[in-house]
Symmetry: C2
Subunit: 474 residues, 2 copies
């Protein structure tokens, strides 16, 4: 780094340390907004979160701060392009929507009233992903306040539909590539390696295809004494349909499902084995007595990252109250989703699942499959020059080099940015791997928030030393 | 009938016809009480229903009107034993509790605000079984008001736990046989043959064993991207456990389940085939596109009455809200029940089910089976002298002879009364076979209410012509 950059970075880091308490209070304000994208009743709250971000971006000094109407929730874009045409342009992607908070009764602290305890912030969205939106806001602010400028050209792309499949973001990427044009995309929606401050760069993501299946039987619930034995029970049909989706080897039975799965090479397996992974510790964190034997022939680490899976996410039918109700339920419904790996195509998987369910549906009931959402799997190139710079910034901020991970989760826009904008992404995430995303009692280590802000300040500083050309070509 | 009895019966029937409108208003008052036995929050309402009945019994002139505390809801007993020791003593059994009303949104009219439309009373409990409690109250009242007496000795046994398995009634029968001693039990908790006024006497009932199974996995819901493939999904385990309970021939797979099922004789099958049963009409009433193929080798009529069955009554796990939530649920729960036939023993079936579920439970999850309630199957002797008298009274009231049915439903006390009091039951029921018991929009034909009151007035009159000895021995 040049001396000038070095001193600017130092000033920006100093600004962050000085205002840490105030920043954490501002984060609480953001986390209090109940931006649950899945719940139509919370649409106003999602919008309020977008407006909160826009106010911050404007205050920091971004231009063209814009909220885009979509088929879902607003997309917020902004830009600061005054670093000069030879400096790199980076696109930052995060999402400001959160998972639903239910089951509410399992939260020890209220999901939308953040608590700071034991060095953690507890709240829905603290890690996934509002805390990481906030990291980027504060890193940019630190540069602007202390240096009066950013060392690179920066574009912002924050969406509000990630937790419901990112369909509006996909459409937006296809329609407005000019607003997203950059030399590199930095995505912060993943985690660190552990809770001991080991940073991580994620280079692979699973895709997803999410379904809802409804089995319809009689007009209404029937007396199981008067009709039991003569009427196909929709709940029984549903459990039989779902139970048949795995075979006794833990493999998914949908014909064609594995056709495009890229076989693991010896190098892939070696890379996976090289990442520290303690099965006992992993098991203890989940509370299960024993891990699932799962798909035969693959390690636990492989099964949660590089192999496709199918999980029931919800099921409901009939009587769930106290005691007994002797009925044949009128209908039965389940939500289930598959995690996809390269080169599975989520549109094809959607078709295969719908066809399979239609084929195996027995007579005497109606079976209807709805596609809820889908997203493509993604792999980013480890030899992209941005990866080395990111690794260096992470090491400087956390005092340890990052590990390189393939994640079991899905971030649909990563594949879409590559397809429509030709843009490579580097996934630099700061959440705890044990931070209860999508679960009750979500939390984020405060050290990861502050370390994350410092890492991004450093990353912009190091990228500012490169030309756009160098970043693109290495 | 003697001329005196004949004229007393005539006066009692006249009383019923004269006060029909007032009686129906009184029934509405009774139906408004939300005596849902399964819901702990409704315990006060169940008690209020018992108190309502006690007020009526006292007003009519019964002695020893008593509410007995039980492990569940109150049991109401009463007696009128002034017909003389040589006259028959009859025990009347009905239940005043009702099924839960949910799903509430499927009721066209409110479940606890009775509506009289198209010759029907619509309300939860109108047919099952408060309407039939009411028939007995009004038949006794008609005799007492018009003749100043009953022609037989009458005992009353009304319970409030039938819809949750009658365990308190079973305990009561074992503990207080002296309060139930009689020459015959008349049970009104079944239906007519059709909606054209063909009466029915039910001589067989299925037993029941009702279970709740809970599969427990991780401490809390987990992200399906981060853990999918490594953790046994409790919802998947539950659907696999439940799907395995039937084989491809529609038979129940629990080892030993069929061991005590009495094989159908040619005579049994002929008797079943002789009862008019229109499969198309039956199917149309349920709204299913096609009846279930069910257990191989048995007709629909046999499968809903003389063969055992297993039905899922409820299942729930994970996310049931709008859109998508990508979780592995922490737990999954189902309620399921078996209908039993002679000579299955519900205690043995409970043991077999619990053992089977334990045996097939996979590692990686906890599987816990709770027994919710059970009841024995029952067959009453068609050659009991009470059956012929009941048939004659039904024919007189409805203008058609009754058909003789085996029902698929369960009334646990019938077997318990035989076991502990040595008491035979004749099941004279007035509900519509299509009256939506245990379902939304329950209804009772008004003609069955009025015809039922007349039939019971006639039945008491005819039994009053017999000696106790004649009724016991034929």
């Amino acid at each position: 780094m040049t001396t000038e950059t070095n001193s600017e970075v130092g000033a920006a880091l100093e600004h962050l340390r000085e205002h840490q308490d105030r920043h954490l209070q501002e984060l609480d304000e953001f986390l209090r907004i109940e931006s649950v994208s899945a719940d139509p009743a919370k649409a106003g709250e999602v919008k309020r979160a977008a407006q909160w971000i826009m106010r911050e971006l404007t205050r920091i000094g971004f231009d063209q701060v814009t909220s885009h109407e979509t088929s879902g929730h607003p997309i917020v874009t902004a830009e600061w392009l005054h670093a000069g045409p030879d400096r790199p342009t980076v696109l930052v992607y995060c999402h400001y929507d959160v998972q639903p908070a239910d089951p509410l009764e399992e939260w020890v602290r209220p999901p939308f009233d953040p608590r700071h305890e034991d060095g953690r912030v507890y709240a829905r969205g603290a890690g996934d992903d509002k805390g990481q939106v906030f990291i980027h806001l504060k890193a940019a602010e630190a540069w602007m306040v202390s240096a009066g400028r950013l060392p690179i050209n920066l574009r912002i792309f924050f969406e509000g539909d990630e937790e419901v499949g990112s369909e509006p973001a996909d459409e937006f990427i296809a329609a407005h590539p000019e607003l997203l044009a950059a030399d590199l995309c930095v995505v912060s929606d993943t985690g660190m390696q552990d809770d001991e401050g080991t940073p991580a760069i994620t280079y692979g993501l699973r895709g997803i295809a999410y379904f809802e299946v409804r089995v319809s039987g009689p007009f209404q619930d029937l007396h199981s004494g008067g009709y039991g034995g003569a009427i196909a029970n929709p709940a029984t049909v549903l459990v039989e349909l779902l139970a048949g989706l795995h075979d006794e080897h833990g493999r998914i039975t949908i014909p064609g499902f594995y056709d495009r799965v890229r076989p693991l090479t010896d190098a892939d397996r070696a890379a996976s084995a090289a990442v520290p992974f303690d099965e006992d510790e992993f098991r203890e964190l989940t509370g299960v007595p024993q891990l699932w034997s799962g798909e035969e022939g693959y390690t636990v680490a492989e099964r949660i990252s590089v192999r496709p899976t199918l999980d029931i996410n919800g099921i409901w039918s009939g009587y769930a109250g106290e005691g007994a109700k002797t009925i044949i339920p009128a209908s039965a419904i389940a939500k289930f989703s598959t995690r996809l790996v390269p080169d599975q195509d989520f549109h094809e998987i959607e078709r295969l699942v719908v066809e399979h369910m239609r084929r195996i549906a027995p007579p005497g009931v109606g079976v209807e499959v709805r596609i809820i959402h889908g997203g493509a799997p993604a792999l980013t190139e480890l030899d992209h020059p941005g990866v080395a710079v990111a690794a260096s910034a992470l090491e400087a901020a956390f005092g340890k080099p990052p590990v390189f991970l393939r994640s079991g989760g899905s971030i649909p826009v990563v594949a879409a940015l590559m397809a429509h904008v030709g843009l490579s992404s580097v996934l630099v995430g700061f959440a705890s791997p044990n931070g209860n995303f999508h679960a009750p009692n979500e939390w984020m280590p405060i050290a990861n928030l502050t370390g994350g802000m410092e890492a991004i300040v450093l990353l912009w500083g190091e990228l500012g030393e490169m030309t756009a050309d160098q970043l693109r070509t290495g």
